[in-house]
Amino acid sequence: MPKHELILLKNMMQPGYTGSLTDYEKTGGYQALRNTLGKIAPADVTTIVRKSGLRGRGGAGFPTGVKWGFLPKDYQGPRYLCCNADESEPGTFKDRQLMERDPHQVLEGIVLACYAIGSETAYIYIRGEMVLGSKILEQAIGEARVAGYIGKNILGTGITVDVWVHRGAGAYICGEETALLESLEGKRGLPRIKPPFPATHGLYNKPTVVNNVETLANLPHIITRGPDWFAAIGSPPKSTGTRVFCVSGHVKRPGNYEVPMGMTVRELVYEYAGGMRSDKPMKAFIPGGASAPFLTPAHLDVKLDFEHVAAAGSMLGSGGVTVMEEGTSMVWAALRLMEFFYHESCGKCSPCREGSSWLVQTMRRILAKRGRMEDLETLLDLCKNIAGRTVCAFGDAEVAPIQSTLKHWRQEYVDLINEAEAANLIRPEPVGRH
């Protein structure tokens, strides 16, 4: 079925591929490492990655090579690399597949990144629930250590890189890079105020780079086949390479699909994911995980790359595409996401901590047909006062479902409220803490 070359999922699509070190070496694994360590200068590796146009796959889409370039050049102390495997954005499940099916691809990327930034220690911060994934990674690290790809004096070049798996413990916010660092230091995962950025004051106040699993998994391929090859894939110049999209919701074949960036949503949903699961047409979709605003079928021809999705009023985020069929209540859907954000707000900033609770209570009241027309203004007012007024991007993310559903499906809210008024439930239930 794939009409284009797979990069990240290529190995695991082969029959019988187990993800072991032998299997990975057979497909050319660790060749990039052999050809780089001691042969290409670290600064040149950074240049290669910058030229390839690789952008972070975790959500923000920051150019990876540029991020590495922010590290202080003359700093003598230790530096750290953190692999962000906290994958907790609802709608996203790509990193789990990359780690559990082809762990060595990720490890090779980690060692290459460590070499480029001059770090001797890398921590893989994996979300606590993925016990199987952490076991598979531990085992792969053991194999790679024995084979001399990780540890002291890698392949006789005198370079040291130690990789450790660190399990999180079930907090969505720890996917935010500074919260991840706090959590890795054994504290509550509260995001830090930036600046200073992790590039100068990161883990243990040392220069640190935090990269997503999928970003790191791309590195061996970029090094082996060159930045120009990578930069030609997808929709250059701004969004290069492929992207593993996680399709979920009301489609026939949900799952992970690796496609070049710039493919339309229509093609991804109707050709790869098999279209809608029943004869009901599509009503809405989210293009980039729970933090991305909802879009309508009118946006089906939007190209899935950073710029085009942003121009359509949403964001590419972590690549989790969730599809909803006709008949799904948008108020209910927005409330479900809002309950998630309410549960996961870390509580550091008042607008987010209190606002998410008020949003959930107001939404529940509307859905329970006890709403009032002025609730809609209250919702928008709350959203306006949360977005952009918090330390991290969580505040912007949590208002996205409500703002976008109110924009596209305001009538559904109005209908629910009209029903409430028709049923003469004029005095709403007192709203308490739930």
Binding site: E129, L132, G170, E185, G186, G249, R253, T322, L337
Partner: protein, 213 residues
């Protein structure tokens, strides 16, 4: 001897060695028989400590060790860990209460966690929760009388394409149906594990025809 290392909690080889000598008897508690928590797991704890340049980083991994021992983190374990890492007990407590995966109270032998976030809810996670409510007679946050099962309704577990799904202890169970759920519960009762749990994740699995292409 006083050093800056002791102030910022730097991991020092001496700490790991002193751990092996079992210096802590202060927090001896019936939970671990005649041994303290630190004595019981001293090798594993020394291994964890050796990974981090600053000791506090070992807090979450150590709490996992404590939770594995009893099914939940006991107060005595928290105090021992605080002592070992040179933290105050509140520093341990503030951390443990931030994260949802640590239990401060005993839970059932099988801790069922069903995802209720939007992506699973679209494909029927609410029905799964109802099934469990009916079959086991427990609501979210409750345990069965025999202490076998506890139910929690949780937020996204990163298996959105294969919902509805649940996690039982360390294993994922995906694409649940009523028959599958019955089978899993029966397996757990009889053997303590179920072959229906997920292996290394890949979805969609490559179909044979696609493999040839």
């Amino acid at each position: 001897m006083w050093s800056w290392g002791s102030v910022i909690g730097e991991t020092r080889a001496a700490d790991i060695r002193s751990l092996a000598a079992c210096p802590l008897r202060t927090y001896q508690h019936q939970d671990y028989g005649r041994m303290t928590f630190l004595e019981k797991y001293k090798d594993e704890i020394a291994d964890i400590l050796s990974r981090y340049p600053v000791m506090r980083s070992a807090l979450i991994p150590l709490l996992y060790v404590a939770q594995r021992d009893q099914g939940y983190v006991t107060e005595s374990a928290m105090q021992e860990i605080a002592h070992l890492l040179r933290l105050t007990p509140p520093q341990v407590y503030e951390t443990i209460t931030f994260y949802t995966m640590f239990n401060l109270k005993p839970v059932g032998k099988f801790h069922i966690q069903v995802c209720k976030s939007l992506m699973c809810a679209l494909v029927g996670s609410d029905t799964v929760i109802e099934w469990i409510n009916l079959k086991l007679g427990i609501a979210s946050g409750e345990s069965t009388a025999d202490g076998l099962f506890s139910l929690s309704v949780v937020e996204c577990l990163a298996a959105c394409g294969t919902g509805p799904m649940m996690q039982i202890n360390e294993d994922y169970y995906e694409q649940l149906t009523e028959g599958k759920l019955d089978q899993i519960l029966a397996d757990l009762r009889s053997t303590g594990t179920s072959p229906l749990k997920s292996g290394p994740f890949m979805w969609p699995e490559p179909a044979p025809a696609e493999r040839d292409a």
